[in-house]
């Protein structure tokens, strides 16, 4: 019998396992690839400051508690806004849909929360939302965001995946130095709406505290 023969021939056994398990992947995943990768025409890639915030979202692993996927149910669109569309995620590397909502969905949080609210909230969630079990992220007010890496990411996705960043995004250090003031200007816009004097001072000195990048990212989620 075939299987008995197979059980004596480890090589063919392994080959058969490999075939059987790659089958579904090929059939399910491959046909979807071209289609799902298309961005919506209204979608622009994130700014460097927002990308730095995205990287903090990954570093501090907000995905542990927050989803970014509004399912097409009335109960969700009432709470969070329009259901999510595939094309909205076309520039997200990695995708940040999450799989657990210990806290609320954040895919459109930029629509219904503001800079000052986030500032208060990230500093001490239960003071804003009584009963909140979200940890405070005080360290974001003192740690500095890594905007250079965010710039490197923008250049990488531009060159590798044709993400539409402008011609000024080049891989050289000089190009980065030239772009830096733009990031600081974006940071200043956020800091202006904040209360913390330390943050304002840091930004005035050409530094970007993590919280500024984080809020820029949260505001960009719309």
């Amino acid at each position: 019998m075939f299987f008995h023969w197979l059980e004596k021939n480890p090589f063919y056994f392994a080959v058969l396992i490999s075939i059987v398990i790659s089958f579904a992947g090929l059939l399910e995943i491959v046909p979807n690839f071209a289609q799902a990768a298309r961005p919506l025409t209204t979608e622009t890639p994130k700014t460097v400051l927002e990308l730095a915030g995205k990287n903090l979202y990954v570093k501090d692993n907000c995905i542990a508690c927050h989803s970014q996927m509004i399912r097409p149910f009335k109960s969700e669109t009432d709470r969070y806004g329009k259901y999510s569309l595939s094309g909205e995620y076309a520039y997200d590397r990695p995708f940040l849909w999450g799989s657990k909502r210990t806290g609320p969905d954040l895919h459109r949080v930029g629509n219904y929360r503001t800079t000052d609210w986030h500032e208060n909230h990230m500093l001490n969630p239960p003071a804003i939302v009584p009963g909140s079990i979200m940890p405070a992220y005080k360290h974001m007010f003192t740690n500095l965001a890594d905007i250079e890496t965010a710039y490197a990411e923008a250049v990488t996705v531009k060159n590798a995946f044709f993400t539409p960043y402008g011609p000024e995004f080049k891989k050289t250090r000089a190009a980065w130095e030239a772009h830096r003031p733009k990031v600081l200007a974006d940071a200043k816009k956020i800091a202006d709406d904040m209360k913390s004097e330390d943050v304002k001072k840091a930004v005035a000195n050409g530094q970007v505290p993590e919280i500024v990048a984080m809020i820029a990212y949260l505001n960009s989620l719309k």
């Binding site: 399910e28 690839f33 542990a64 210990t102 405070a136 890594d146």
Partner: protein, 488 residues
């Protein structure tokens, strides 16, 4: 054909992996217990500054229990039983011995460094695939070393027909190799620019919905080929070996194995129900998940039937108890998963605590129980000493069984409640609960889960202690026990 007795099996590598299985098991579950308590008492987020928040620690927990505890348990058992069912000793090949030891050290040091990177927030973001690109490379090397070691020992085997357990371990090796590689494809940004920014950082090769598809094709099957397949392989060796009973049905083994191989991979999209992946793919994920109940249950039923007529063993031998209850929890999680994969049920279950509930039915009741039973079975044979205390094993059994029951009942109630509250509308048709209402209502259940964590962890410490005493102070054995593990 040579008789068993004539062969001196070499357990050096199996022993080394046994130690780290226990070490990582303890660390991973300690962090798990802290996580559980943090959700009940958020002040516990601030014990070690930014490094101790729930969000930073969660991947430390998941990765330590998966790539630390479970995977080293798989390695430990492999290096133990493969020699025996293939009738060949590692000592017969210098190459295999050196490779085995190297495999261990690269693995152990790699795992320690990898854990530290997570504490520092060096993460690629995808669940169960957080390790950054250069750690991925180390992991691939570790996995390949195992592969060479597997095919090496199979190559020089004396028993020509591969036993069922070997099928499952082979599938584990191949499945993870393929999935891990594809899902972790990423580009380091440092090298794509003139050395700008951090050398650790990389971007995924896939974006958005595509990334999600690849991730859950991986994530689901990492569970399949990490938490299920090798553990089934384990029970197929250790239960008949401990009980002295023959496997109930070859046909059932065969159909369950190939059924599992075929169906498992289709089901990955049940993690993406109601998301932006195409409708047809979601439906396939749901449909195949239901079919999956039977190949999963096939193995469990085969094990239960193997124990037919052996009620006395179940009552007398705590190791048999561990394995029978492991099968039971395996059945529970492999019907719970499929039912959660039905679209309408998933509309409630997804994103809620019912999912971690399902997860821990599987991992605590099945993976950890089975792994501990395997190590208990191996210890007297590897160290030639009797198990230190049967009584302790009994206490541990009841503590941990109670803990699993508390974990899953609390998360079950919590999840269903939360899922339904998110949807609830008032008499006018508008949402009735603010989000925070759905958080505060869970407090009592989070407390119960915290208690369950403490209980389970204590049970695991008893296990570690019992193993330690067995290795160092168990009564010495003159002869290797054939079936039932001797215990004082």
């Amino acid at each position: 054909m040579q008789s068993n007795a004539a062969l001196e099996y070499d357990y050096t590598v199996a022993k080394m992996f046994t130690y780290v299985t226990i070490l990582f098991g303890f660390l991973g579950m300690l962090v798990g217990t802290i996580l559980a308590l943090q959700l009940a008492f958020p002040e516990l987020n601030y014990l070690i500054g930014e490094y101790g928040t729930f969000s930073r620690l969660r991947p430390v927990h998941t990765n330590t229990v998966i790539f630390g505890f479970t995977v080293s348990g798989v390695f430990a058992t492999w290096y133990y039983f493969a020699q025996r069912v293939l009738k060949v000793s590692m000592a017969e090949s210098r190459f295999l011995m050196i490779l085995g030891k190297a495999h261990f050290w690269v693995y152990f040091i790699g795992a320690l460094i990898a854990t530290i990177t997570l504490v520092f927030g060096i993460s690629a973001g995808k669940e169960y695939a957080q390790y950054e690109w250069w750690i991925d490379i180390v992991i691939v090397i570790i996995w390949l070393m195992w592969g060479v070691s597997i095919f090496g020992i199979i190559g020089i085997r004396r028993e020509k027909v591969l036993y069922v357990s070997i099928w499952y371990y082979l599938a584990c090796f191949l499945g993870i190799a393929m999935l891990y590689l594809f899902n972790n494809m990423s580009i380091p940004t440092y090298f794509m620019t003139d050395g700008l920014g951090s050398i650790n950082h990389s971007v995924s090769m896939y974006a958005g919905t595509n990334d999600a598809l690849v991730q859950w094709w991986y994530g689901h099957n990492a569970v399949a080929f990490g938490f299920t397949v090798p553990i089934v392989g384990m029970i197929y060796y250790f239960l008949p070996k401990e009980s002295g009973q023959a496997i109930y049905s070859y046909k059932l083994s065969l159909l369950s194995f190939w059924g599992l191989m075929f169906v498992y991979l289709w089901a990955g999209s049940h993690h993406l129900l109601w998301s932006t992946v195409p409708d047809w793919m979601q439906t396939m994920g749901s449909a195949f998940s239901i079919v999956l109940i039977l190949p999963s249950w096939g193995s469990a039923i085969n094990m239960l039937l193997t124990m037919k007529g052996e009620w006395n063993q179940l009552a007398e031998n705590p190791l048999i108890k561990f394995m029978v209850i492991a099968s039971t929890f395996y059945m529970l999680s492999t019907i719970e998963g499929p039912i959660q994969a039905i679209k309408s049920v998933n509309a409630i279950a997804h994103f809620t605590d019912w999912i971690p509930g399902h997860v821990h039915d599987g991992v605590l009741g099945w993976v950890v129980f089975m792994t501990m039973a395997a190590l208990f079975h191996m210890a007297p044979r590897m160290w030639k000493r009797e198990i230190y205390s049967k009584k302790l094993m009994g206490i541990q059994f009841w503590m941990q069984t109670t803990a699993v029951v508390l974990y899953f009942t609390s998360m079950w109630v919590a999840g269903i409640t939360q899922g339904m509250m998110w949807r609830a509308v008032d008499e006018y048709g508008n949402l009735v609960y603010s989000f925070i209402d759905t958080v505060t209502v869970l407090h009592p259940y989070y407390v119960i889960r915290g208690v369950s964590g403490v209980l389970y962890l204590t049970g695991f410490i008893l296990f570690a202690y019992n193993m330690y005493k067995t290795i160092t102070a168990g009564r010495e054995l003159t002869e290797e026990p054939q079936f039932k593990t001797p215990m004082a």
